[in-house]
Symmetry: D2
Subunit: 399 residues, 4 copies
């Protein structure tokens, strides 16, 4: 068996929801689904599942750097039309977006809205056949809302990111675990007893802090929201501004969604040997340009770890300041993506069934489907929960 | 020094925000504030603080059962007009509400909306002088919204419960700790190694579960919301329906906000010696009537603990199924109430300054005051946090 | 039912091992057991259990201050000969020790060795009938070893404190929980977000620190053993010397087994409102004399809490610096004492069966009885564990 | 810079104790140290440190499979005589042991006692110059004690494993972290919400269980010692026999030091997709032979992960049942080995200074050196702890 196929088979072991959804018949029979997603094993298995549900699937990546060619090849051999290639430059990448649209898909599964935006601007002829779009990310939703505000959106869109089963889970449990998986495997450094600074106490930051504590670290939180700062304190963490935190830090993880979290003056205060990792979406939180400029010396310290010498002290950056769990490890754990992709699958089914009654706007993720995914997850685990009785429902209405 | 005064002086030690607010001059000079609140040391100190800020304060309880007469007496000796008495029956209690309104207060601080509702129905003549109302609870807000919907609300109202510094804190950290304080002191029972069932994984349930885990218990969560159930699971708890959970339970704590959480069939499945406690607002979660009916024997097992024998097995209920931290301990920790009462103080100041520009409706708690309380808390702890730079604010707008 | 009896009945609910042991027939038929123990509900139930096993039991306290007269009265009504009284002075207390010895017991259950020492010095005539002694505490064992070293010990003695089921459990899980139970009930103060200093990282300190963390505190450990200090660090705690720790402390708990843990210079550095509690055996860890001497003012701050004003700052001491869980709460949780008393019961049975073959020296607790108690505990919980197969035993011998 | 050298430079960043020890002058000037250790970056840095301290160092591996040739090459280029090679078969490996002995070392640093045993049997001529041996492992110590018991031991030996700074740390914090690092990187599987069975609640098992809990798992402990089983329960874990545990298990980690922990009947009860990993020293805990025999199908599931199909269900074994953190990851975190190697360095210095006064027997690790390493660790972290005063030392003697 090829390595690409092995990778896909492996993730299939831990995607019980997609496995169950794959047994739901052929709801997509006669439908073409175009998708632009990170081309790796987990998404490949989503493509295969949609195919099993009857769809003709045409796929490309949403960023050439995340494309794994062996997976793309295996996927192609398993019946999916695949255009992604890791070596593609920006122009070649955009060409593959057009390749997908050439198939005139009925539904689009988008990650970042490249398919959607190009369909609505350069390739409006494909809108005729397009019935609905399911968008994975916040960034993508924002881009689509611009289309909507300009009155240009021509199909109903479902914002998957806003589903509770997505944003409550992938940030806390997905980022929380995979950030430390990445830091540990890339440094072989002990976490217990270390001073770990986590910048930002949003969902990601909470997950990262919770797991750092679980690994025995002393965790220091920095925040700009005073309410979150008090929460962090009550959760047992030390709270500080970055200026003081950097002086104690052995490891700093940024997860704020903002830029310039670490500033020039902080770089000068750091301890020799400090490790920097970013868990925020964009590589703007650690000031890579500033570091490059200030460094007397730059060297490859370990695989995925770059060393810089600034005023004689060494600073180590994992994965060049990019999202540390993706740039230097395997991304979210499989089971987390299984939840997200179950949401995606139901989103696409919902669109295929209801598109005629939907307006051309961005919809929140349907609450009943959100709960459906949660119930499925519980079922695969053999867990039964309680149900409201009629008299309890009445009581809740009264109070 | 009297016991009542001692109690008030004690809480003053751990209410740094009220202490600081008390130094803000005389913003309420010439204002009369009528309040109906649980008459105990923490609220007494709020009344004294408002008095120190210049207000003439007229106070009664919001429930005779929570009135501590020694505190009421001390408060009265310290310059507050007090009408509350523990022995009051319903009629006498309502009389004290009228007593407060007789003073024609400028502002009302309400806990459950009795002052507000009676002012708007039986005593509308007091509305003339009334400039604003600050309501502590969800229940009170709901009652006031009925007035609003019926077009009867004649003053602006601020819903303090919705402030982040209130609902994010008193449920998790306040209820979380005080529930276990109460269970431990009333039973002298070991928590470590016990099977603790927590019904409901809302803010209260999370707090209770988190602290039970922190005390070494094995925690089982019951829920009706499948998404919260999966969250509980990812947080490391066992998740089950109540039917199976009761068979394992050594201690059951209800915190759902709903009724009939424990049902007849559950009572029959419980282990001999099980301990039941309710941390939900109303005493409807544990089926006291059902228990009384089914019991062969009822006996006082320990102070605040009633024993029942059902089919030969003993079931112990703390505090008669009422809110366990209030009915059988000292309620929320002092510092939690300090946060809430800082919010109340600022709410009243806000109303006194802005009432002319406000509509006669229920307002959300002002975000800037919410943050102000958080910043004050951090300041009393000597903690500095970060601030957004202009370029960071610009970045956030862009993305 | 009398209050004393109610107290005894309550603890009986949570002492499954004593309940089971009470069903083991009449092994003590015809035997007289003299005991000097803290006279409260849990020990009363041990006396009753020994009585149920056939023994004639004659009891007194081991410290008048810990005697609960209502329990003593109830015990006496239930068939035990009781001499303890709370109001006894030292002389009257010693008289009760002689009263017990007057009965010429076959076995002695001692807590601190008063019965043992007096029997071997002033009342040597009782040694003739004495077959064995079971001693609960380290202090008692030390006193008895002095007798042994001087060649005066005339009966076999078993040191119960050294059993794994005792010292591994009562310090960590017993002291850990009951210390916080006491601090919370006596202060109504929030633990979450507080800086809690735990002096000493032995078994007690570990338990106290673990539970403080579980309640949301930021925990700082002080130690004199550098190895334990590094362990504390790896367990995620901050480690510091006392000099720096006191500056941050909101609550300080001592559990070192040594004196002068808090020194004069520390008292001057403390924050206003700091809370001091001692969880070590003797009241020498917090320097009460020094505090009394330095204080400008001393006042009763709350039940069990004394306030001192030193250079204008308030210091609050719970339970006068005595063991905080006993002096100001209900001592160890019931289930912990159940383990200890099961060990005691088996120790006495062992002595009654084997005394003829034992030498007059101090014996370690028999390993097989230690395990027997552990197996019983697991059985009462319905837990089955694994057993070594023959081939596994052989393997272990080989490696 | 060569990859081997880079690896060594990386670990040097996180070995502050070896760095400090390297500055202690030339205590080994004129001394030859022969060592047989796992030839990888961390041990290489130990060899370099001993060399820096003046010693001529001659090194080989203690197991060809753990030899990293790039590190061996770099080490050799940096002035150490190196004989290890990964491709060596048993005979070639033993040859390298003789190669080291050919140098007639003054001191031996052994890991498993191969150098020691061969020196005392086949190469007794080297004993003449040999002054002392420092042995890292329990296994090695056992082998040397056989020599001692047979009266054949001709040099003093220090058992480093028994140092508190070794066995209290590498098992709990080293194995605890690195086991999960390995499982996460090799499976990309979510740990939160999983049922993780940990077989054995010794130091290793505690570390593994503690970290699994910290990652959000529900942890089930199996034990044969009932006392440890009750401890696990009080620590908040579920306790069960293996027979029931396997039915719930998503991941099973063995760490008992015994064989046959998982038996044939257990294999048949496992859930489809279960993951097995061994954290015990020898690969006897997971029954690989039995699995191979029973499997209908065997396949490479992922790098380091072998899949087996038994009665239709898949079982995944990481690292072929060998020590999972070494066979499929990078072994203990660097800082843990820094502690161990600081102990080794001081052990060798102690032998070089005191060998004339030592007997030819196995010595426990000297307490003062154990504490010295702990103090050094604290010092590198800038942590000061307390010291006993004279009056405190006197007090401790008295009680």
């Amino acid at each position: 068996m090829s390595m690409g196929r092995k990778k896909i088979e492996w993730v299939a072991n831990y995607m019980p929801l997609l496995n169950e959804i794959g047994r739901l018949g052929k709801p997509f029979k006669g439908w073409k689904i175009g998708m632009a997603i990170h081309m790796e094993a987990k998404t490949a298995y989503l493509a295969l599942t949609l195919n099993k549900l009857g769809a003709e699937v045409i796929a490309t990546g949403c960023n050439p750097l995340s494309t794994q060619d062996d997976v793309a090849k295996a996927l192609s051999e398993m019946g999916i039309t695949v255009y992604a290639k890791r070596t593609h430059d920006e122009k070649e990448y955009l060409k593959t977006i057009h390749n997908v649209l050439d198939h005139k898909p009925d539904l689009i599964l988008d990650d970042g809205a490249d398919l959607t935006v190009i369909a609505h601007t350069e390739r409006t002829e494909v809108l005729e056949n397009l019935k609905g779009i399911s968008e994975e990310t916040t960034t993508g939703v924002r881009r689509i809302k611009v289309l909507q505000d300009e009155g240009k959106l021509k199909v109903p869109v479902i914002a998957v990111n806003n589903a509770r089963m997505k944003h409550l889970f992938d940030n806390r449990y997905g980022t929380g675990q995979s950030t430390w998986d990445s830091i540990m495997r890339n440094t072989n450094s002990l976490i217990a007893g270390k001073n770990v600074v986590v910048a930002g106490y949003g969902w990601c930051g909470r997950g990262i802090a919770m797991r750092a504590k679980g690994l025995g670290a002393h965790v220091i939180i920095t925040e700009v929201d005073p309410v979150k700062a008090v929460e962090a304190l009550m959760d047992g963490f030390e709270v500080s501004n970055m200026d003081r935190a950097v002086e104690k830090a052995d490891i700093i993880v940024t997860s704020t969604g903002n830029k310039d979290i670490i500033k020039e003056e902080h770089l000068l205060k750091m301890k020799d040997g400090v490790i920097l990792a970013n868990a925020g979406h964009f590589n703007v939180e650690i000031p890579m340009e500033q570091i490059e400029k200030m460094a007397e010396e730059k060297f490859e310290a370990r695989q995925n770890v770059t060393g810089y010498r600034i005023k004689g002290k060494r600073i180590f950056v994992i994965g060049e300041g990019r999202l540390v769990n993706l740039a230097a490890a395997d991304g979210h754990p499989i089971e987390i993506m299984d939840l997200s992709f179950a949401l995606q699958s139901f989103s696409l089914m919902y669109l295929s069934e209801n598109y005629k009654n939907l307006e051309n706007k961005v919809y929140e993720y349907p609450e009943e489907l959100d709960k459906k995914v949660a119930y499925m997850k519980l079922k695969t685990l053999g867990i039964e929960i309680d149900y409201l009785t009629q008299s309890q429902m009445d009581y809740l209405k009264k109070f």
